[in-house]
Symmetry: C2
Subunit: 333 residues, 2 copies
Amino acid sequence: MKERRRVTIRDVADAAGVSVATVSRVMSGSLTVNPEMAERVRRATQELEYRPNGAAQGLASGMHRSVGVVLPDLSNPYFHGIIKATNVGAARDGYRMLVTEWQEPGEELGVCLDVLSRVDGLMVLSARMETDSLRDLAARGVPTVLVNRVELGVDLPMVAVDNFSPMLELCQHLASLGHRRVVYLAGSPGAWQNRERWKAVQQARILGLEPVMVASDATIEAGYEATDEALGHDPTALIAFNDLAALGAIARLRELGLRTPEDVSVTGFDDVALARYADPALTTIVSPKAALGEQAWLMLEASLRGERPEQPPLLSATFVQRASTGPAKGSRA
Amino acid sequence: MKERRRVTIRDVADAAGVSVATVSRVMSGSLTVNPEMAERVRRATQELEYRPNGAAQGLASGMHRSVGVVLPDLSNPYFHGIIKATNVGAARDGYRMLVTEWQEPGEELGVCLDVLSRVDGLMVLSARMETDSLRDLAARGVPTVLVNRVELGVDLPMVAVDNFSPMLELCQHLASLGHRRVVYLAGSPGAWQNRERWKAVQQARILGLEPVMVASDATIEAGYEATDEALGHDPTALIAFNDLAALGAIARLRELGLRTPEDVSVTGFDDVALARYADPALTTIVSPKAALGEQAWLMLEASLRGERPEQPPLLSATFVQRASTGPAKGSRA
DNA sequence: GCCAATCCGGGAAACGGTTTCTCGCCGAGA
DNA sequence: TCTCGGCGAGAAACCGTTTCCCGGATTGGC
C-alpha cells in the first residue's frame, strides 16, 4: 500500500513546462491562454491523472462549488423526488450536493454553519428548523432557499407548493361522497405545510365537513399509531398529513378489520411512488416534486451568483382520485 | 446584506492576546497549554463566534473528518437503514458523512476520486461499481469499505449480509407450502447479492422447486413491469429480488385480478419499513440494516486510523413469514 | 549556585490552489 | 522609427489552518 504523493498543480506545471498560474488558468477554462500551451497542459493533466484538491480550491477561491441540503428525514421518499431534481440541476451547473439529515431542533444553526465552511449555499427542507435560525442565516448573507415553508418574517427566497387549494379540492371530493365526520391526522405542529393543510380542512366546514384534528406525524408508524385515537371520533374518512401516514393508517384499519374505503376512506398527500402501488391505491395530491427541486436549484443558483432570485408563485399540486376513497358509510350518496 | 468578513483564527488570537498556534492547540484540545490562556482563548472564540474553516483545516492537516458514501439509489429505503446507523457512528467519532447517489457505471471511479479531495474514506454500497475501479481504489490506498458485496480479487475490507442461507430458508418455506413452479425476479445482473440469492433459489431444486429467472430490478416499477413476463411461466410463487420489486409485483397481480397469496405467493428481501404495512404484509427476509451500517462504520474508522480492520463474518438475516405467502394453488398442501 | 533537561508558546513554513500584479513582447498608429 | 496599447505568461501574495522548530523561562539535580 505505497503512499503515493498526490499529484499537485506544480507537478503538472513542471511536466508541461509552464507556470502554475497557467495551469490554473487552463483548468478554469480561461481563454487568455495560448491554445498550444493549453493543449500541452491538458496532456500533462491527463498523463499525471491530476485532480485539483477541492479543499485548496475552496480555500483559495472562497468557492466550494457545492451546496448543502438539510432535510429532516432521509427515509421519507417525498424528499427524494425533490433532491433528485435539485441534484441534476446542481450537477449541470458544476455543483456538488451534500445532503445532511438533521432532526433535533436546537442545534440546527450550528449544524448549518458548521457545514458552511465547505459549502456555498443552503437549501432548507426542514419544516421544524426554528425561524430565528433562518433569520440568522439571512442576516449573515448566506445564500439560502427555503423549500416548502413560507415564513413571512424571514428575508429569504422560498419556493413552495400550494397546499391549500388542492387540499380543499380533496375535501370537496370527500364531501361529495357524503363524508361529514372526518379526522385530520396532523403532521408536525409547527410546520407551515401542516398549518396550510389543516386550514383547508377547516375551511371545508362550509362544504359540510366536521373535521377533528388528531396528533400524528409524517411517518408510516405515526399514521399507524394515531389511527386508534382517530377512530374514537367515529369518522367516515381519515385525511392524513401525507402518504406515509395514510399508508400506516390503512394498515392499522385493516388490522382492525375495517376496509378501505368501504368502512373508512383514507387520503394522503405528496404522491410518493408507493401511493399508486399500494392497496388500495391512494387517493392523494400529486405534489410537483421534480419541478420543486428544479426551481429550488434555480433560485439557489441565482443566490450564489449574488442575484436576488425572483420570488415565484406557489407551485400547484393536483388532486388525484384513486381507490382509497369511496362513499361515506351510512350516507345515501 | 452586509458582507461580514469571516472571523479567522488570527482574530481570535489577537483578541486573546496569544499566537495563532496557541489558538489552534486549544481548539484541538492539546493539553500542553496554560489553562488560564486556554480559558482566554475559549472566551474569545465564543465572543467572536469563531468557526474554523473546514477547507483550510483539511488542507493543512490532510484530514477532512468526513467520509463519502456512494450508493446507487437514494430512493431505496433499504439504504436508509444502513446509512442512518453509519451516520450515528460517524457523528459519534466526529466525522461527517457525505452521501453521493451515483448510478451510471463508467464514471464511478472519477466520481469517487473527485469527492476524495474532501473526504478521508469511502463506503461503497453500489453493487454495480466495476471491480476494476475498486481494485484501483485499493491500490491507491484509499480507506474504503465495501458493503454488501464480496469481491474475491479485491483487497478491501468488506461487510455483508448472508444472502444465501435465509433465501434457502425462504425457498424451503415455499416448498413446504407445495410450490414448485416459481419465478425469481432478478436484481441487477452483476450484483453479488443477486448472484447469491439466485444461487440459493437454484439450490432449492433439491427441495422440489423449479425456478425460472426473469430479468427485473430493485425497484417497484421494475417489479411491476416484470410480472407479466413472470406470469408467462405460470408460477405459483414469485420470489422478488427485494421488497420493492415484490410490492410492485403484488400491485400488478392485483391489477390483473390475481390475489396474493391465494393465486400467487410473493416474497421480498430486506424488510423495509413498508413491508410490514403493505397489504398483504410481505413475507420477506429481515436484513440487519442497523448492524450492517454500524459495522461498516467501525471498519471504515479502523481503516482511517491506518489499521487493517478484521474481516467480520457474514451478518445473518432472518426469514420472516407474513401474509404474502400461502399454499400453492392447486397443491394438496 | 550553576548547568542541563523540560516545558510552553510564538514564529514561520507548509498545504495546494487562485488571483493580482507586473513585465516583456508584439503589432499598430503617428 | 518610435511610442503606446494590449495581451499573454510568470512571480508572488494570499486563503486559514496545522505543525515543526526554536528560544526563553522554569525547574531540578548535583
